[in-house]
């Protein structure tokens, strides 16, 4: 009976983990496979993709044709449960409340957290990304290097299943190659990019996403991931056999009933539960880490969202994986005599240096792609190819007005028509209606391409969270107040995205509905929009300048760890989830090591 409540829990537990997403899921997996007794707390409800994923449903079966609403921000069929930009009863404050300084915070209240809906883009940080200050003097170096993390990227890729190419480029490591699944074949619009990008010196690589393009090798991978642990190998092999390869249809963000993509709920949690070592309490809204007289964490307090009761659970080790900002909130709210500013906060840096990803997009219409014959271009739901950052040497020579790069998430194709597919076509059709409009729809369908720039952010003092002195959520827990300001570097980078994308589209013979946005302030998406927030409990080389050490362990409390993106002292352009998992696995190995030596 792995799903328990505060009254039916089967303690004592070795470890309590707060959160069930990428960080919490990976930690539970690694620890449970090695025999550690784990209790996981999730703020939302249980969620079962095999039963709840609306695969193959068409938009006409949904209210408002699957359009986004305040209830379901990314559309009716997006799998996010009880979440989005606003969670009912769980406000947050953003000051000053104005465009540009505003931060929007996407949350999910469900087992598996945001891993259920995420884009599944799985890029490795490169060597420069771990030592950015050493390279250009800005921000912070991580206390670890690419070589420290590379073995864990290998392991995570093999465990969750990531497709990608074997070719590495500067600061764009592919890994050893044998950890990856084959990438999907490019679609017509991808070939267009592959033809024109090289004319600008822009490289195009196979995409990298956590989708099974073929069945996982359940015969050899379990032995590589769990050498000498036959039980873990057997459990993992069985779990891998239960996952189906991609069906080449239906968007990943709806959830995958056949477990062909990575969700914590289909990949991390099933084998962890199978060990018998994992118990889960859902509807557990954690608000405090409790610390004993010995200065060690001894458990957490939470509100049971179904009863409103305050509960406490105990464990020898506490791991926070609640998401970067929620983890900072828990620490800051954990105030007591010895910790007047919150647990783990002797540096005063909890909540500081929150980072997001720079985002800017341009859409083009390509005459060459008009009126193509029928094609099934669903593929694996996008990113058959992508563009890694390519101007490292120009930046090193100070030839660009911004120090850090971006990658391009590129897309096109004849996707299932949505409510927005034929909106606002007047710039192409001259306002046609009647039979001509239907002809125009057939002509332009599938002729659009999209460039999404996703860029690195240098940490700055203006981006942080703190506890709001007045506002509380429906549980009575004080809420976060966000402070946000993009730096000049990020804004100039966004303008560079706009100019570059516009040039490439025009070279392709394409058209832009509106001119590219060259004003750096307007070119950048607002903070939080990319849903890549990290930092707030950053790792570093000493207790004065960071919250956590190179093992994601808080400097102040030796048995308190952070498993989510909070530990990132820098957010490279690479999407953070793969790195969150790699660091969580590395942290878990360290916990196992210390437990075996009876140090914790």
């Amino acid at each position: 009976m792995p799903f328990v409540t505060a009254s039916t829990q089967r303690g004592p537990y070795d470890v309590v983990i707060v959160g069930s997403g990428a960080g919490g899921g990976q930690t539970a997996y690694t620890l449970c496979m090695e025999g550690v007794r784990v209790l996981m707390l999730e703020a939302g409800r249980e969620y079962t993709p095999a039963r709840e994923s609306p695969m193959f449903q068409t938009p006409d079966m949904a209210p408002l044709g699957d359009a986004g609403t305040p209830d379901k921000n990314k559309g009716f069929y997006d799998c996010t449960v009880d979440g989005g930009w606003d969670v009912p009863g769980e406000p947050y404050v953003s000051v000053p409340d104005k465009w540009g300084a505003h931060f929007t915070w996407w949350r999910a209240r469900m087992l598996g957290g945001r891993t259920n809906h995420w884009g599944r883009i799985s890029l490795r940080n490169g060597p420069y990304d771990f030592k950015p200050r050493s390279r250009d003097g800005l921000g912070f170096d991580w206390p670890i290097s690419y070589d420290d993390v590379a073995p864990y990227y290998d392991k995570v890729e093999m465990l969750i299943g990531v497709y990608g190419g074997e070719k590495s480029l500067e600061n764009t490591p592919a890994g050893p190659g044998d950890t990856l699944l084959p990438p999907p074949k490019p679609i017509v619009s991808d070939h267009l990019l592959m033809k024109y990008a090289p004319r600008f010196g822009i490289p195009v690589l196979p995409g990298r996403r956590a989708v099974l393009t073929r069945a996982q090798d359940h015969r050899t991978i379990p032995g590589k991931l769990h050498p000498g642990n036959l039980r873990a190998q057997k459990i993992l092999a069985e779990a891998m056999r239960k996952r189906s390869p991609c069906l080449w249809a239906t968007p990943c963000g709806r959830g995958c009933a056949v477990a062909a993509n990575y969700q914590s709920t289909t990949v991390h949690l099933p084998p962890a539960l199978e060990t018998g070592n994992l118990d889960v309490i859902t509807h557990a809204m954690v608000y405090e880490v409790t610390v004993g007289k010995d200065g060690k964490a001894n458990g957490v307090r939470f509100v049971d969202a179904t009863t409103g009761r305050h509960e406490h659970v105990s464990a020898r080790i506490v791991v926070l994986g609640a998401s970067a900002c929620e983890t900072a909130r828990i620490l800051l709210n954990s105030k007591s005599g010895p910790f007047p500013n919150g647990v783990g906060n002797s540096s005063g840096l909890v909540g500081r240096y929150v980072l997001d990803t720079v985002g800017s997009s341009v859409t083009g219409q390509i005459p060459l792609l008009e009126s193509l014959p029928p094609l099934n271009e669903d593929a694996a739901d996008g990113l058959q190819v992508y563009v890694p950052w390519w101007l490292y040497q120009q930046q090193l020579a100070h030839k660009l007005p911004f120090p850090r790069g971006y990658h391009i998430e590129y897309g096109g194709g004849k996707h299932m028509p949505s409510v927005g597919t034929f909106a606002g076509l007047e710039w192409l059709t001259g306002g046609s209606y009647g039979r001509k409009f239907k002809e125009d729809a057939r002509r332009y369908y599938g002729s659009f391409i999209n460039f999404d720039g996703r860029g690195a952010m240098v940490p700055n003092d203006d981006c942080y969270v703190e506890i709001d002195p007045k506002v509380k959520d429906r549980f009575g827990i004080p809420v976060l107040r966000f402070h946000w300001q993009w730096g000049d570097y990020e804004q100039r980078q966004a303008a560079h995205m706009q100019e570059t994308f516009g040039e490439v589209i025009e070279a392709m013979g394409g058209r832009l509905q509106t001119p590219v946005v060259t004003d750096p302030v307007k070119a950048i998406a607002p903070g939080g929009y990319m849903i890549h927030e990290v930092g707030g409990t950053i790792m570093g080389a000493d207790a004065r300048s960071s919250v956590t050490n190179k093992w994601s362990q808080t400097w102040d409390v030796p048995n308190l760890f952070v498993a989510d993106g909070g530990v990132f002292p820098y957010n490279a352009d690479k999407n953070p989830t793969l790195t969150i998992m790699a660091l969580a696995w590395r942290m878990s190995d360290h916990i196992l090591d210390r437990m075996r030596r009876r140090e914790i």
């Binding site: 039963r51 449960v81 080449w248 968007p251 060459l368 299932m416 046609s432 239907k438």
Partner: protein, 220 residues
């Protein structure tokens, strides 16, 4: 992925129409004596709730499953007439109203969400403008006019970039109504067939485009 982003862009774009809403409201004043004003609306409760943050995603829903449809018979006739002027039957597919687009639009403008509440005002005021124009020109409701007469009214407002200054508000209405009609039509099976969309089916492997097509496009 692109499609969902486009959806959001549509919603954001529509939000920019707030000023149009107030201006469009003035068109009610142009209704001539005896002209058909919109009938009373039934069951429209502004405080009505939506489907909530955790609806059952597996069930298919009829239009009106979460909130009542609110257009009256006369408005539905006008809605269908305008939808079919925008998307008529042709050799490829049926007309918009034949595949349920009136219900789609009714559900849209009857929804309790802020965006749809704004769209509702624009659509209902746009209907009033159409009927007022029809009465003014032909002494008949818009829905009963011949296609040529309807086109005389709609041609000047079908492209907002070319619309006369005093027709900008009805042109904004027409653009939005075309968006809604296309949204309702191309999300149906008939719409997908019209576009020859052949995805959303499980495949054992994904082959990519035929080499011959790539050669023809000079992309091979």
């Amino acid at each position: 992925m692109t499609d969902r982003r486009t959806t959001i862009k549509l919603v954001i774009a529509a939000a920019a129409w707030m000023p149009a809403l107030r201006a469009l409201a003035n068109y009610n004043d142009r209704l001539e004596p005896g002209a058909s004003a919109p009938g009373p609306l039934r069951q429209f409760e502004p405080t009505m709730r939506g489907y909530g943050p955790d609806p059952d995603l597996i069930t298919g829903y009829e239009k009106g499953a979460f909130w009542p449809l609110t257009l009256n018979a006369q408005q539905r006739q006008l809605a269908g007439s305008l939808s079919d002027l925008i998307i008529p039957a042709d050799d490829h597919s049926p007309s918009a109203s034949a595949v349920g687009v009136v219900d789609f639009i009714d559900e849209w403008i009857s929804a309790p969400y802020p965006q749809q509440r704004q769209d509702r005002d624009i659509v209902l005021n746009g209907f009033a403008w159409l009927d007022a124009e029809a009465q003014h020109r032909s002494r008949r409701p818009f829905a009963t006019l011949h296609e040529a007469q309807q086109r005389e009214i709609c041609d000047p407002v079908c492209d907002i970039s070319r619309a006369a200054a005093d027709l900008r508000v009805p042109a904004q209405f027409f653009a939005m109504y075309r968006n809604l009609t296309a949204a309702g039509f191309y999300t149906t099976l008939a719409g997908r067939k019209d576009l020859q969309y052949i995805g959303n089916v499980a495949l054992t492997h994904f082959d990519g485009p035929p080499a011959e097509l790539l050669r023809k496009l000079k992309l091979a």
